[in-house]
Symmetry: C3
Subunit: 346 residues, 3 copies
């Protein structure tokens, strides 16, 4: 296990060292669990009181907290980012061995870049191109004419349907399915006529896609996931939808088809975004929201209601379904009172 001095970690993260630079660390821990052997961090807010009680060996602190801190620390305007960089340094994630497992089934014309790894029982179909350093996990299926960019990692059991394009340095977690048919049918005498989904999925660079997330291929053209986008688990992205660069979406959110989501948006978990909408850049949507109209300005948007005791909720939920009537009764009361007032003035 690699060990680094606090002085070296200050250098590595661009922090100012305060205290004993010779202290050495091989591990980090949360502020409420850290022992004297661990490095930890405090950003402020409700964790601020831990400064007095924490037994961490050293902390990463913002300047305003470091001033009055007697222990050793790294002073950084962004303690969380510095912490993330140190975690990456101390805890290298295991990488698959390079090379092609003999049980993998790879079509004759597949182009394999330098240092590519392909896991056991993976299947790579005709015309696919894997750029240098691409890592294909065990049991993945890469369809015809797919392109996987350099250093991109597919964890085990990912499916890329034919013609899917994935950029460089992406991470796709197990069970994700890119390029299944979009949900498109025309009504035909009470039945459904399938509209062929003949577009594809195009994923930018530095994208992460969570476990069992699904991104449908476009009906025509491309469903596009911008650079640096982060998608959590069990997300649905409908056909022809476009997601702008650096947008992050949390688990279980459903984005219908032909939606345009801007750049730098943050969509929380279990939101539903209806089809054919546009969402501006830098929009934040809180959890479980239903977005049924376009959002044209940056800001924070919400819908839904939060849990209360069931007995209270039952009454309120019943009233909700009479809300328009209630509002009309208030209007009637206002009118009656105004009439009374007018009569008094007479």
């Amino acid at each position: 296990m690699a060990t680094y001095s606090l002085a070296a970690l200050a250098d590595y993260t661009g922090s100012t060292l305060q205290g004993d630079g010779a202290l050495c660390f091989a591990s980090v821990a949360a502020i409420d669990q850290a022992s004297v052997n661990d490095l930890s961090y405090v950003r402020g807010g409700k964790y601020r009181h831990y400064l007095e009680t924490s037994t961490a060996g050293a902390l990463i602190l913002p300047p305003e907290l470091a001033t009055n801190y007697a222990g050793s620390c790294l002073v950084n305007t962004d303690p969380y980012l510095a912490y993330a960089k140190i975690v990456a340094l101390l805890y290298p994630v295991p990488r698959p061995a390079t090379g092609i497992h003999p049980s993998a089934v790879i079509a004759a014309d597949v182009v394999l870049g330098e240092g590519v790894s392909v896991g056991a029982h993976a299947v790579i179909e005709a015309g696919a191109v894997l750029d240098a350093g691409a890592m294909i996990g065990a049991g993945c299926v890469i369809g015809e004419n797919c392109h996987v960019g350099a250093q991109t990692q597919l964890h085990p059991r990912v499916t890329l349907a034919y013609q899917t394009q994935v950029g460089q340095r992406c991470i796709i977690h197990s069970g994700a399915v890119l390029g299944a048919d979009g949900f498109g049918f025309a009504p035909d005498r009470g039945m459904w006529y399938k509209i062929p989904q003949v577009g594809n999925v195009v994923v930018g660079d530095d994208v992460e896609i969570g476990a069992n997330t699904t991104i449908d291929r476009a009906a025509l053209g491309s469903t596009r996931i911008g650079n640096g986008v982060k998608l959590d688990n069990l997300i649905q992205i409908g056909h022809n939808t476009q997601i702008g660069d650096y947008t992050a979406i949390a688990a279980c959110t459903a984005v219908a088809g032909s939606v345009q989501i801007g750049k730098h948006c943050q969509i929380a978990g279990m939101c539903a975004i209806a089809g054919h909408l546009s969402i501006a850049d830098r929009v934040i949507v809180t959890g479980t929201s239903m977005v049924s109209h376009s959002i044209t300005e940056a800001g924070v948007y919400s819908s839904g209601t939060s849990v209360t005791e069931n007995a209270v909720w039952r009454k309120n939920a019943a009233r909700f379904n009479q809300l328009d009537k209630l509002a009309r009764r208030v209007v009637a009361l206002e009118k009656q009172l105004a009439d009374l007032h007018n009569k008094d003035l007479d």
Copy 2:
């Protein structure tokens, strides 16, 4: 790439030709993106204004729009369906090569119909029957005694648990799981006693099932998906639920156990349907609705609230949890005003 004259496309779709039947097309495009080489369509509504500005080479139009249209067009009472048929003609979807991949593991007694294809690393267990033309994608697992109907396509990495029956001409997308155990437990001294799930899943003909969708096997009997049903991605269908013919359900909707859904229903995305309910034929449920009681009549049903600015929402959501009290205050006001009015009359 195949090319067809406008006259041939009129024949193929049962449309009336208006204009130059010799125009040839190999591609379609959306009305706002179509070039002179593309065929496009307009159904009416908000896309109607594109008739004046579109650069499409020809259009498919309903009679009421064709009347005043100067360019070449196909006149059809259902432009969207005609368009779908032309897409299917111009863009044939790749089909897997027939034959059994040598890496597939197929039990000795499996019955393989004529022209069946089985992809690399697929597993087909004892007693399974694949009818003529069935296509089993790479990495699929077909359990014991399953039946896959003629021309049905399983995309890569589908799981059919034992005894699952799938009809003809179905399409099942990657990651779908049919026949996992239903969620059935009896409380037993603070713990859960598993109720064996010994029924199965029966899927009709012409059904499409989306990526990573799950359909649980019945506790006893069958979970049934009717003919022509279309299920999008990441849908959950609980044990013993019955879905009527030609019903369509959009992504991320959860249907609990023992639900009866009628024919020709349309359930939008991220709805939740509670257990043991009945839903009549031709019911439409809009997105994110919670169905907690049976629906006995055709119609459109909804619940939920839509996003607003977070600051506005916070106040409204807080008021929601006092809604019954608010309604009682309105009742009190009504009574006071009635008393005042009665006093005036005295």
Copy 3:
């Protein structure tokens, strides 16, 4: 097919026999579908009226219903549990053949307990330990240094990422992914810096995990699923979350990261639980609820609204977004009326 006398079934379930103990049964059925050859059960409530019309050969009944029942029955204070035990007896679920399929890829140092089964095309990586009787389905991928407890069954196509630990007698359904990276990123100049997720997932004994459910590995430490926990399909469990013993969660629910859920809780389907919350023991949350604050006491909690006709809903939903204003208007009315009343008193 095994057949048991009613007397034997009384013994087996600890029930009191009433009527003809020599009646023999090989099958059970729901009370509204049971024939004379089937055993069925009634717990009371809305199914009570079936006592008079059911054609079942015998019933399992609670004492209060058995008193007036003329047919043969098993009298048990918990008919549902007795029924579950009889289903388990009459309908043994097929178990995979023991032994290692020759197509499985198993690293040289994997420890295989006695009677382990490994299905076709499964992949088991270095350092993994499978205890006695563990069953690994076809196409599963077990990462480095995973541990699978005795008698635990992984259905086909399950993924355990490296270092995942699963207890004894668990059941994990197809498509489930345990140990994918948690969703953790630090903002970095408008982009996202990935926080390495270097913890793991630890699952207790007697846990069941549904199809396509995802449980993320901890950032540091462990995401923990307690003993006897039951998770349905398509559930998301975020990194570092802890779920107490014997808690059950229904399909499509999303639990964010660092949540503490107590013991013996019941969370219904499609709920969303926000990050860093605590939920007490024995909390019940009804379907589609949004839990955005901690719950400190046992009880039943709810949120959301239920479907109505779309035309009614539209008006009510519009009023919801003016609810705070409506409440303020009621306050104003109350003040005006009080003023009127005071004036009258003058």
